[in-house]
Assembly symmetry: C2
Homo-oligomer: 125 residues x 2
Amino acid sequence: MTVTQAADERLVRIGEVARGAGVSVRAVRYYEQQGLLVAERSPSGQRLYRQDAVTLVRFIQQMYAAGLTSQRIAELLPCWDSGHTDDRQRAMLRAERARIQAKVDDLQAALDRLDEVIEITDTHP
Amino acid sequence: MTVTQAADERLVRIGEVARGAGVSVRAVRYYEQQGLLVAERSPSGQRLYRQDAVTLVRFIQQMYAAGLTSQRIAELLPCWDSGHTDDRQRAMLRAERARIQAKVDDLQAALDRLDEVIEITDTHP
DNA sequence: CTAAAACCTGACGTTGACGTCAGAGGCAAG
DNA sequence: CTTGCCTCTGACGTCAACGTCAGGTTTTAG
């Protein structure tokens, strides 16, 4: 025993990752280009991912949807899968959190404004 | 009496509107170009607005912040200041409302994910 | 009167996360 | 073998709400 971590992980190609995470193949390549995702390569040059890459891609997508830039996500990922950060990273995390919270508040206010209009126009047939 | 609505509204120029609403002069011109805002013109061609234009610009900004396009805002504005809509407009209003609500949910989920990371990294000095 | 500040009309530049197209391989099935 | 699907690397296109620069007129402060 003590075989050097045979790790018989089933490696999947980019199409399967994309479908699994609900994004385009182009997007997955883009994430790699932005340094958010690493892939092994087959002898012929095709990207090979572990299945948990799907989870990672979903996370990346969620952060994009929250308005984080590739840069911020790149800074965030080490915190995510290592659980260890320095002061600068913690400050960034809190700043992003505050930004998202502010955005939620803005959206909520916009919802209220829209609801006013909807209510008025619904009671004015 | 019965003078044809003298309306001695104090008209203001674009700079004042922009400052009042907290946007750039360029933005106000852009809103006009998108058909969201109408302005009288002075003899020399400068735009003149009633003071309530500030309120309108703020509303436009809020809708932009909520992710509505110029097109949608243009469709929405008549509902806002006339309080009367047709079926298509009501459907649009509800659709936008649903979109924004979905976005709020996404942001909230992202906030939760970020909080997980923050909590973990804060308890791991 | 004059200089600064504000305004005008174009029109090109920016940003970010991809979409899309071109051209060239790779890979299992029949 | 070849058909068809997947993948590769560039590299240009997109979209939307403005930013910004150029070159000229207008209004205001002193």
